[in-house]
């Protein structure tokens, strides 16, 4: 077992624990903190893959911006009160069973998949990624920009009071 393998298993265990923490956290703010921790663990995983670019983006964009955004929203909303049991017809058991079935299927399929037997190779350079982004995916890049605009415009008009106009 190489050092990289050890690191992988460590980060994997850490990210799973943190992910469970997101779901199990009683308070929402804890869940957001657990999310941040998961992202940091994933950044570690990206490092084991040899992709510093992704690790950096993961830390700064997700770990920074998105978590802060979520916390911000949390501050602006009211807490959810406890609801009486059986108010809803949605059963956690069916949800759990479906997700378990999904997980079992995914894991067995992945383990059987011959196309995933390849080991890790050096990650493509940042320059190559940039060339791809502004070459083949230039239209997608533009559309992603448009999507940010849509989100911005949408967020403003949705969140602002209507009498502001």
């Amino acid at each position: 077992m190489s050092a990289r393998d050890v690191l992988f298993y460590a980060y994997a265990a850490l990210s799973i624990v943190c992910a469970v923490g997101i779901v199990r956290a009683r308070r929402l703010v804890h869940a957001v903190v657990w999310l941040f921790a998961t992202m940091v663990a994933l950044a570690g995983i990206y490092l084991t893959l040899g992709s510093e670019l992704m690790a950096g983006v993961q830390l700064f964009v997700y770990g920074g911006a998105v978590t802060v955004l979520a916390l911000f929203a949390l501050v602006l909303t009211r807490p959810v009160p406890e609801l009486p049991a059986r108010l809803s017809s949605a059963s956690p058991w069916v949800a759990g069973a479906s997700v378990l079935l999904l997980l079992a299927t995914l894991i067995t399929t992945t383990v059987d998949a011959t196309e995933l037997r390849a080991g890790v190779r050096p990650a493509p350079s940042t320059a190559l990624v940039a060339a791809e982004l502004f070459g083949r995916y230039v239209v997608l890049f533009e559309v992603a920009g448009l999507l940010l605009t849509v989100a911005l415009v949408g967020a403003i008009i949705v969140a602002r009071k209507d009498d502001a106009s």
């Binding site: 995983i45 979520a70 609801l83 791809e132 989100a151």
Partner: protein, 102 residues
């Protein structure tokens, strides 16, 4: 040896945990947080394939970058909507929204 399959198993675990979190969330904010986890699982998968698969490894990484931007846009809009809804309604739990049915 650590292969792409290892990463996919890990990503499957994260994805399913996120999915379970979505299905059992009582508030919409929790759904957004859990969806974030699911999107992270997707990213992990793609980065792993970029580093292991032969064909155009850079394209997957480029797409992951785009995906992060898209996810940020989506989450931002979702959070704005959730905040707006919670400001105008006494109901904050998802289960409380059930007047439209049948």
């Amino acid at each position: 040896m650590i292969t792409a399959a290892h990463y996919t198993v890990l990503a499957s675990g994260l994805f399913c945990i996120g999915l379970f979190g979505v299905l059992n969330a009582r508030s919409a904010l929790r759904v957004v947080v859990a969806v974030e986890l699911m999107l992270n699982a997707v990213n992990l998968n793609l980065v792993a394939y970029a580093v292991t698969s032969g064909a155009r490894p850079a394209s997957a990484l480029a797409f992951v970058l785009l995906l992060i931007v898209i996810a940020a846009a989506e989450v931002g809009l979702a959070l704005a909507l959730v905040v707006a809804l919670s400001r105008r309604s006494d109901i904050t739990a998802i289960d409380g929204y059930a007047t439209l049915k049948g």
